[in-house]
Amino acid sequence: MGGAASLGRFSLLAALVLVGYAIAAAVLGARARRADIIASAVRAVQGSAALLAVAAAVLFVALATRDYTLQYVAAHVTDAQPLVYDLTAFWGGMEGSLLLWALVLAGYTLLAIRAVARAQPDLLPGVIVVLASVAAFFLVLLTAVASPFAALPFPPADGRGMNPLLLNPWMAIHPPTLYLGYVGLTVPFAIVIAALTSGVSATDGGVLLARRWMVWAWYCLSMGLWFGAKWSYVVLGWGGYWAWDPVENAALMPWLVATAFIHSVMIQERRQMLTRWNVVLVILAFGLSIFGTFLTRSGVLSSVHSFTQSSLGTLFLAFLACAVLAACAIAAWRWEALRSRYELDAALSRESAFVLNNALFLAIAFAVFLGTIFPVASDVLTGHRVNVGPPFFDHIVPPIAVGLLVLMGVGPLLAWRRASPESLRRNFLAPGAAGVAVGTVLLAAGMRAPGAIVVFALAGFVAGTIVLEFARGVHARQAMRGEPLPLALLALVARNRRRYGGYIVHFGMLLLLCGITGSSVFATQRVVTLAPGQTASVGPYRTRYEGLSQSTAGGALTVGAQLRIYDGGRDVGELVAARNLFLNGRDATSSVALRSTARDDLYITLIGWTAGPGSDGADAAATLRLLVNPLVMWMWVGGLVLSVGAIVAMLPESRPRTSPVPARMPLAGEQAGP
């Protein structure tokens, strides 16, 4: 296998040489306006992608065959580990994750070159230079600083294996999905920088071309965050799904900025306004993606997700500074020329709602950034590390999120350009009544948490606006074409995918917010120590502890508390809450006893136990943490709905008719984009 490792190292080195050549050839080709040199640059990028694929294949084979001559394999694979996790160890460590990053970037680069060559060929050399420069940085790291093909002089008989917390299906898909999002932000950045260097006219088109890439990156980030929350909930055993951990925040910040961009670029599409703002958002999203990578790899902040402390942090910081400064300098060079010739027609318009929504998204991103870097900043400035922790975020973020919720409901009620107050009042009536009804019912049912009532009432209002928008569209189609309801609904969505896909995404967000609110405000828990046969109650559940069991498998000793669960007096089955103790000295992990329903989750973890008189431990007392999390299931359902909406919105739309003045007024169900 030593030879294969050499092949891996050679492939990375050769890929680095090729991206270096691609940068030089793209610059020369653009300056000399030589198609042959630009074609050679394209081929160099394609060649580097092929070589990266070879390097990745070598690493996969080494992991699958448990080749402990490689340092990376010995550190992340063990004979007792299932094969599927041997393969996911590819991104379980620093070096492999960097290779994955470079590989994903290479794939995106091939797709971006193809798309740009078709849509705006003038931008091709610039796009190659930017993407190849980013690839070069990662290849330098992979060849000179953190090679996944470093060999061990004395290979061990068995490896150490991955952190047991990572041996979970959610963790198998969470990192690659998140990487698809992080790395995906590089493409809009490259397109926009290429457009800025090409000229002012190209920039407008470049930003619009970047939109579809940004939407894809946003979708991947959304799914990555969702998978990560699910993993945190079912694996870490602390009862929550989001802890404002620095690495979670690192993924949230670019997601927030990308969300702002997806809204503001709609104004540019319609009004040719906000080009400068959109350029800033694209640069910011890319910068935050690199900043997130810096946080994960530098070790400056402790996190359950981060890799060990290493010198990579300094290199990432230097790269981030160079990339962002260069991008800002290029944007500043074109700044004045990018000024819009148009202005908002009226304060009461959908454009204004989008501008406000952008301000709120950026405010949350800034608050998250501040809270994330505060420990480092305080350490540097005062010599004392001050962690602000979840209370800071919980204090700042929810009020701004409520503002966004209001805009999510009001926005669709406003006309583009200029909305009349009278029509707003009229359109507000039904959704407003839905919100008031929800709030009143909750109050009547005894809910006394003001924050939760506000969120649920606003959710009712927003759901009302979404239903109203669908109902109006369907009604218009039925009135004009006489279509039956299901056909009218399908045709409405199919012909206006961006608009109605966006509404489905909003509905998914509503479900997510309701789940977050329910589980944050109304969670109840208690810690109890029970002898076999004793019971404890929490919320509507009664838990009877029936004894401990032990088993050994896969290099771990598992101690499980057998539990019988009663919901309102009804026997709903058995659960097992367990602790896994690893024979190789790794940290113990929890297996959560989880009963999940639409109303709430019963979440039980085994904290400890005391030996009983019997030798098999069946009569030992167990200390359990019993937790009831209301509405959590709606978070996962909301993520699914969001995913469906995003896929609908990303599907290509048919080309709009180009007659300047419609022969007839279009149907309400035939409009493009919200």
Binding site: L7, A35, A202, E269, R270, W416, R417, S420, P656, P660
Partner: protein, 106 residues
Amino acid sequence: MIAAITIGLAAAAAWYVLVPLWRTGPDAARNDSAERARLVRERESALRALRDLALDHATGKMSDADYDALRVREEAAAIEALRRLDAIDAAVPPASAPADPPPARA
């Protein structure tokens, strides 16, 4: 064996990358289509605005007076963009007239 694969890979990569340089072909076309692309975007923007206006008016979000005033403005913008596009296309031989960019996708 691995050494042979390595050498083969290096040779194949070098050949693949450099072969376009030995081909003779036309230089990269000058960017004569930038103004046209801008006008196409202006036309698409005006058409999208017209569709938005029609929908917002049909669904009762915009008054008749606002709709009439804004529609006239957007129609004028669309017609002006079309007129200038026609002027550009009339000045370019049909065979080399650049095509419209691909449709915007979601």
